[in-house]
Structures are given as structure tokens and as C-alpha cells.
């Protein structure tokens, strides 16, 4: 495992990502999310760690390169680094030995289905946090089956005054917000049951 990034290296990297710290931070998070997806699609284990490793390594390399880095978009550079990190992760996978004290798999963690009720309760709570128009839109979008649903979505797009593609994007963004909210809600409440949702 490489050394952690020094604060000044991290700051220098952020400066390359955006003119303000806030914007750069947001871009950093987006880039991290995209890298995690990429590593997931490549079938890498621990995509989150690999995304962090990629960003750390890119930050170090960019610092070393200083003004020699001629590219306009650090994301392209990060992408190049991600290739290496993915490749190395596959090598590491075959090379990592089991620790000597390893005694087999531990007790199973709570199964994913145990969280279903809590998931539903959290979803209801998160839906309630949406603006009424957004809630109605997202529920209306997923209402119905097959052809009825297709007709319904065309109607919704017309009502919203947007194209069907724009509606799909809008629903995706609402989905992302709902997912983040549900995951946050579940992590705050643990997998203990729906009644613990405030």
C-alpha cells in the first residue's frame, strides 16, 4: 500500500480540478464515483479502494510533472492511471496469500434480504422528503405495466413539457437522490427493522 497523500499534494490536485475548492471537491467526488463504476465493470475487487488509489497516484504524478503536464483535462490523465491500477489489482489478487491465522470465513453478516423492510420504510421516508411534484413524478413514472407504462411516460413528458429523453434523465437524477437518501437512512438505522426509522 502506498503512502497517504500529503495535504499539499491533495490541494494541488484540487486546484487542477477546478477554480474553487467547492467546485474542485465536487469534481473530485464525481471522478471518484466514475472510477468506482469503471473498476466495477472491469470486475476488480474493492473498487472504492482502487478509485482512491488512482486519484492519489494521479495527484502524486501530476505534482511531479508540475508544469510539464500539458493536458487540459486531468480526468484524461486519471483515466490513464486507472488502467495501471486495474492491471495491478489483478496481479495482486493472485499474489495475496491468506494470513496464517486465518480460520475460515467468519459468521455471516445480516443477509441483504434482512434489510428489505427497513429499505421500504426508508424509501417512504425519502419519498416524503421530495418536493410533492417530484414525488408524484417519480411514482407516476414507475406506475403501470408494459404498454400502459409507456403511454403513461409519454403523457408525463408532455405534462412536464420536456422530451422523453429529458424525462428519463430527470427520473434518473431523482433515482440517484432517492438511492443516496435510502442508503444514508439505512446506515443510520442499521439493519434492525422498520420501526427504528424516525
Amino acid at each position: 500500500m502506498s503512502e497517504p497523500l500529503r495535504p499539499e499534494q491533495f490541494d494541488a490536485f484540487l486546484q487542477r480540478l477546478g477554480p474553487s475548492r467547492e467546485l474542485a471537491g465536487s469534481r473530485y467526488e464525481q471522478l471518484r464515483r466514475r472510477l468506482m463504476a469503471l473498476f466495477n465493470y472491469r470486475g476488480c475487487a474493492h473498487p472504492e479502494e482502487l478509485a482512491d488509489e488512482t486519484l492519489d497516484r494521479a495527484a502524486r504524478r501530476l505534482e511531479e510533472m508540475g508544469s510539464e503536464f500539458a493536458g487540459s483535462d486531468p480526468a484524461r490523465f486519471v483515466y490513464g492511471v486507472a488502467w495501471n491500477v486495474a492491471r495491478e489489482s489483478f496481479r495482486r489478487l493472485s499474489a495475496v496469500p491468506l494470513p496464517e491465522e486465518w480460520e475460515g470465513p467468519g459468521p455471516p453478516s445480516p443477509s441483504e434480504s434482512d434489510g428489505e423492510e427497513l429499505e421500504k420504510a426508508c424509501l417512504d421516508r425519502c419519498l416524503d422528503r421530495l418536493a410533492p411534484a417530484e414525488r408524484r413524478l417519480v411514482l407516476g413514472y414507475f406506475e403501470g405495466e408494459r404498454s400502459a407504462k409507456i403511454r403513461r411516460r409519454s403523457e408525463l413528458a408532455r405534462e412536464q413539457g420536456v422530451s422523453l429523453n429529458a424525462l428519463r434523465l430527470r427520473i434518473h437524477r431523482l433515482n440517484v437522490r432517492l438511492r443516496e437518501c435510502v442508503v444514508h437512512c439505512m446506515s443510520q438505522n442499521g439493519l434492525t427493522g422498520a420501526e427504528s426509522v424516525p
Binding site: 464525481q30 480526468a75 414507475f142
Partner: protein, 324 residues
């Protein structure tokens, strides 16, 4: 590159695992560098989750989706949330009247006041003590309804609506509320306009030409005149280059390529490559991250792979990367 059927098909194939390596490399570059392309992938993933829950698509597609996408607890959780959302949406009609706002049936966008009024009337049913106050406010809101309808229907400015017959305090209250209503309408229009602009920008971006990935043809073991190595100039800002490794014949089902520095140290490797047959002869094409190719000399070693057999050396391809 718009969210066209072609691009959507490409994204679907990416999710389900049916893209060839070259296209995958190009797409992954785009996904990392272009937030809108990544968002488009998110749209497709959501829709594939939905199809999976509906048991739409072929058995092969479902299997590919399970093997390629539903591979992590986070993604399986995403499936669970999508299922819960579908269930919740299907329960909308079963909820007691007034608990959920009815889905609009008009082709016109419902005005803001409809939701506000709906909320008030629900409160009235639950909290009789507030009936009097709610009634007063409802009357005021009905005024807004009328004004907003006029605003929508005729596109007139609300301030021009006649209010002379009303008492001054009602007029003042209504004017303030109307101003607020106008502001909200304006805000919604702005949001809609922003969303449309973003969608248009995405569609335009999806259709724009991208920087092509440079391809360099390399002949096996060949040095140019006076012993010079083939020279490659890697353009800046290009994350990958393609090396076309020419073959005398395509004798193996798949190949492995390794990139070496002048001392023989292995820098990079890729397996499961398949030869392509073109007019100029068979070749194996590899996409190499340009980050691995600073100025210097290199050697690519190509091996042939057969099931259960050791890799067999096929050819070597020396080259030099020159400054751009």
C-alpha cells in the same frame, strides 16, 4: 453523440458485456472524462434494472446482467431499492384518498396551487380545529387559482388582473401572494429551461466527434533503414494509443501481448486478444495507455494462446516513442 438508439445500444452492450475491447476502451475513456456520458450510462443501468425486475429481455440478457452488473452488494442494493420503488408506485392507487396526490390526467402541467390546495384540504380533514383558518386561506388561494389560471391561459401579467373591487388589505395580501406565485412560476420555468438546455447539451455532446485514438502499425522485428526503430509520436492529451501488430498468419485462437522496456522489464500485459483479418493481412490490435509510453524505446512481445497449452512466442515488435 445523442442518447440515440445507437449510443444506447452501445451502453447496453457495455453493461451486459458484449463490447469488443477497442470500443470498450473508447467508451470507458468517455465515461471517465465526460460527466454527461456517465449520466447516460446511469440512465441505461436504471432501465436495465427495471427490465430485470419486469423479467423483460431474453434469458441470456438476464444472465449477463446478473453476471456482469449484479456483482456487488451496492448494486444488489440498488436492485432492491428499484424493486421497492416499483412496489411503492403500484400501491399509489391503493392508498386512502387524500394520502397521495392523484396523478395528473390533463396534458397540461398542473399549476403549483393544486398541490398547495391539496395539502391544505388534507390537513382540514385531519385537523378540524384548523378549519376556520384553513377556510380563510383556501379562499385566498382560490383567488390565486383564478389568477394563476389567467396567467397560464392568457400569458398576461398578474399585476394587470383587476382588483379594484376588493378591500385594500385583501388586495395587498393577494398582490404579495401573486408576486410569490409569479416568482415560483418563473423559477419552475427556469428549472425546466435549464433541464432542457442540459438535455440538449447532452444530446449535442453525444453527437460530437471525439479525438480519434491514434493507431500505429508495427511489423514484426523490423528495423527501418540504418537500423532505426519505427518511431511513434504520441499526441498529448490522448489517453491510449492502438498498436497494430502485424502477423504473418493467424494461427492461434487468442494472443497475449506484453510491453517491455529496453532492459526487458515487463511494463504491461494484456491477454485474450483476437486477431483481426483485414485487407492488409491479419493483425492483433492492442490499446496501450499512453501514460505508459513516455519518450524511449520499447518492445512488444506477442505470444499465441491455446487452451491448456503454454503461451508460444509469435513475434516481437520494437519501436521508439519520440517527442511530439
Amino acid at each position: 453523440m445523442r442518447l440515440t438508439p445507437d449510443f444506447e445500444r452501445t451502453l447496453r452492450r457495455y453493461v451486459l458485456g458484449g463490447l469488443d475491447d477497442d470500443l470498450r476502451v473508447e467508451l470507458e475513456e468517455l465515461l471517465i472524462t465526460d460527466p454527461d456520458a456517465f449520466e447516460a450510462l446511469g440512465v441505461i443501468e436504471d432501465e436495465l434494472l427495471e427490465e430485470y425486475l419486469e423479467k423483460a429481455g431474453s434469458a441470456d440478457e438476464r444472465q449477463s446482467f446478473e453476471r456482469r452488473f449484479l456483482t456487488s452488494p451496492e448494486r444488489r442494493r440498488r436492485l432492491g431499492i428499484a424493486r421497492a420503488l416499483r412496489d411503492r408506485a403500484s400501491r399509489v392507487d391503493e392508498r386512502p384518498h387524500g394520502e397521495t396526490l392523484p396523478a395528473p390526467t390533463s396534458t397540461l402541467r398542473p399549476p403549483v396551487w393544486a398541490e398547495t390546495l391539496g395539502g391544505w384540504t388534507r390537513s382540514l380533514r385531519r385537523e378540524p380545529a384548523w378549519i376556520a383558518l384553513a377556510a380563510v386561506l383556501a379562499v385566498s388561494l382560490i383567488g390565486n387559482v383564478w389568477l394563476a389560471s389567467r396567467y397560464h391561459a392568457q400569458g398576461q401579467i398578474l399585476a394587470a388582473t383587476p382588483t379594484a373591487a376588493m378591500p385594500p388589505e385583501s388586495t395587498g395580501e393577494l398582490t404579495a401572494q401573486n408576486r410569490e406565485l409569479q416568482a415560483r412560476l418563473g423559477q419552475e420555468q427556469q428549472e425546466r429551461s435549464k433541464a432542457e438546455s442540459r438535455a440538449s447539451a447532452l444530446e449535442a455532446q453525444l453527437g460530437r466527434p471525439r479525438t480519434p485514438v491514434p493507431t500505429f502499425a508495427l511489423a514484426a522485428g523490423l528495423l527501418r533503414a540504418r537500423g532505426a526503430l519505427p518511431r511513434l509520436t504520441v499526441p498529448p492529451d490522448v489517453p491510449v494509443v492502438r498498436l497494430r501488430l502485424e502477423l504473418a498468419e493467424n494461427a492461434y485462437p487468442s494472443y497475449r501481448a506484453t510491453l517491455h522496456d529496453p532492459d526487458g522489464g515487463e511494463i504491461w500485459a494484456v491477454s485474450k486478444l483476437r486477431a483481426v483479418e483485414k485487407a492488409e493481412g491479419p493483425a492483433v490490435v492492442v490499446a496501450v495507455p499512453s501514460e505508459l509510453l513516455p519518450r524511449g524505446d520499447y518492445l512488444v512481445k506477442l505470444s499465441g494462446l491455446r487452451d491448456g497449452a503454454e503461451p508460444e512466442a509469435v513475434a516481437t515488435y520494437p519501436f521508439r516513442v519520440a517527442a511530439p
